[in-house]
């Protein structure tokens, strides 16, 4: 069922927004792809999408003067969700082609997948991996609400998020011998390294949860 909710997808020129819009549209009455600060401020929830390099992402955000509107939204308590590069740039710093400042909404760094990945694994990490709640983390009442442990979701990335505060890691996945951060949560701020809009029914459930959170925030 559709919620009477408005979700804004932040358009900063990177990534396939079509599938994301279609997926959100299954659950939210209004989905707008925008780079207008007024529309962003009015939304019940915002999505920060993106594929590509950290530096390019930040450059495009600054070019469109979106940094301030995004940071301001993050302080309202309304939910925001970064996906893939959109999640990575929420951290403090990225180390892709040099060192670059991120939005700093979640303290931590974005670094290349460690080199000691076993021989059988290849970078970029493309494909479906199982996600689990990080230690001492519960998925209840988050975007992962109702998702079974070890559900498969779709990843395409060469870099990973490393939050300073481990309690801000919401979910984890493994690649070879390495366990990495698949999702972050800091209050109302969410980020997923994987693509929920490309993760089949599990992904759609995550998107539905996000819309539900955006919808119920209003009524608190």
């Amino acid at each position: 069922m559709k919620r009477n909710t408005t979700i804004a997808i932040i358009d900063y020129g990177l990534g396939n927004l079509y599938s994301l819009k279609k997926a959100l549209g299954l659950f939210a009455e209004t989905v707008i792809i925008t780079s207008d600060p007024k529309i962003i401020a009015m939304a019940d929830g915002i999505i920060l999408p993106g594929v590509g390099a950290f530096q390019a992402g930040m450059r495009e955000i600054e070019k469109r003067k979106l940094l301030e509107p995004i940071v301001r939204f993050s302080k309202t308590g309304k939910p925001m969700l970064g996906i893939c590069l959109g999640a990575q740039i929420m951290l403090s710093k990225g180390f892709e082609f040099g060192e670059h400042q991120g939005l700093g909404l979640v303290r931590g760094n974005v670094k290349i997948f460690p080199k000691f990945v076993s021989d059988s694994e290849k970078i970029p990490n493309i494909g479906w991996s199982e996600v689990s709640p990080a230690k001492k983390t519960k998925w209840k009442n988050t975007i992962m609400n109702g998702i079974s442990d070890k559900s498969s979701v779709y990843f395409v990335h060469s870099y990973i998020m490393i939050p300073d505060n481990k309690t801000e890691i919401l979910s984890e996945a493994t690649c070879g011998d390495i366990t990495f951060c698949a999702g972050v949560k800091k209050g109302n701020i969410y980020g997923t390294q994987f693509h929920p809009e490309k993760s089949g029914e599990v992904g759609l459930k995550i998107i539905e949860n996000f819309v539900t959170i955006a919808n119920t925030y209003d009524k608190k």
Binding site: N16, L17, K22, N125, I126, S129, V156
Partner: protein
């Protein structure tokens, strides 16, 4: 844990999904929208949408048709056929593609792979190679949907493509395509053994056993099929059950 990807491939000609043998003698097998939805719902891990005549006719694939497919499909979609400019890639991505597969244009203009992977990231650019066996452990790359010889050694070409920045290889065996005699194991192995990027193999699936064989012996990272799924010889879930039996992790739907 990472799971083995089972990919369903749709060869598109005009408004139809088609299928041939050795990429030739194309027969209509169904409607792209119906088939793509069927594969999404039956647990495909990824979809490939390849316009098999776009390059030959030097035109673009049908972005509107692609849009009508991708709006119902929430798994990754790789799109190929006639991709020859940055704006073609942009159009494909805007129509719901996550990755683009490039063959014909790249053979003539290898530097395009570099430009494209810089612009969109390696993860977005798939080098599509149609390979035909010419002697023991030697394959020639073909273009235009398996119609044109290039004189280019497929293995050398793949090495070059990786150097130019592609993030994945789609390896189609012209010899085995549509024959159901199994995948070309030697070809798969020859590529997967050195490639630092994922390798998707296509062409020749005839039984669920064939999938297991090319994973075990061919060392590939993902397996694609079309005929056997189109003609309901068996379903994606049958392939996955077979792999589970062999202790290969697969995605549960």
């Amino acid at each position: 844990m990472k799971t083995m990807r089972i990919i369903s491939r749709l060869d598109i000609k005009g408004q139809n999904v088609v299928k041939g043998v050795h990429l030739e003698g194309l027969r209509v097998v169904g409607d792209p929208k119906t088939l793509s939805l069927k594969y999404y719902e039956s647990g495909a891990d990824e979809l490939m949408y390849i316009d098999v005549v776009a390059s030959l006719y030097q035109r673009n694939l049908d972005f509107e048709q692609l849009k009508s497919i991708s709006e119902n499909i929430f798994i990754p979609i790789t799109v190929g056929g006639g991709i020859r400019s940055i704006s073609d890639i942009n159009n494909a991505l805007r129509a719901g593609a996550d990755k683009v597969a490039i063959n014909t244009h790249a053979i003539a203009h290898p530097e395009f792979l570099k430009v494209a992977s810089r612009e969109f990231g390696s993860q977005c650019i798939v080098l599509s190679v149609e390979a035909k066996n010419i002697s023991e452990n030697k394959w020639e790359a073909y273009t235009e949907g398996g119609r044109e010889r290039t004189g280019v050694d497929a293995i050398e070409w793949i090495k070059k493509g990786i150097d130019l920045g592609v993030g994945e290889i789609l390896l189609t065996s012209i010899d085995n395509d549509g024959t159901r005699k199994g995948y070309d194991i030697a070809l798969s192995k020859a590529v997967a053994e050195f490639a630092p990027v994922p390798v998707i193999v296509h062409g020749g699936a005839g039984s669920t056993e064939d999938f297991w064989k090319v994973i075990r012996e061919g060392k590939v990272d993902a397996v694609s099929a079309s005929s056997i799924f189109h003609y309901n010889e068996f379903a994606i879930v049958d392939v996955k059950n077979k792999l589970l039996e062999k202790k290969i992790p697969v995605r549960k739907k």
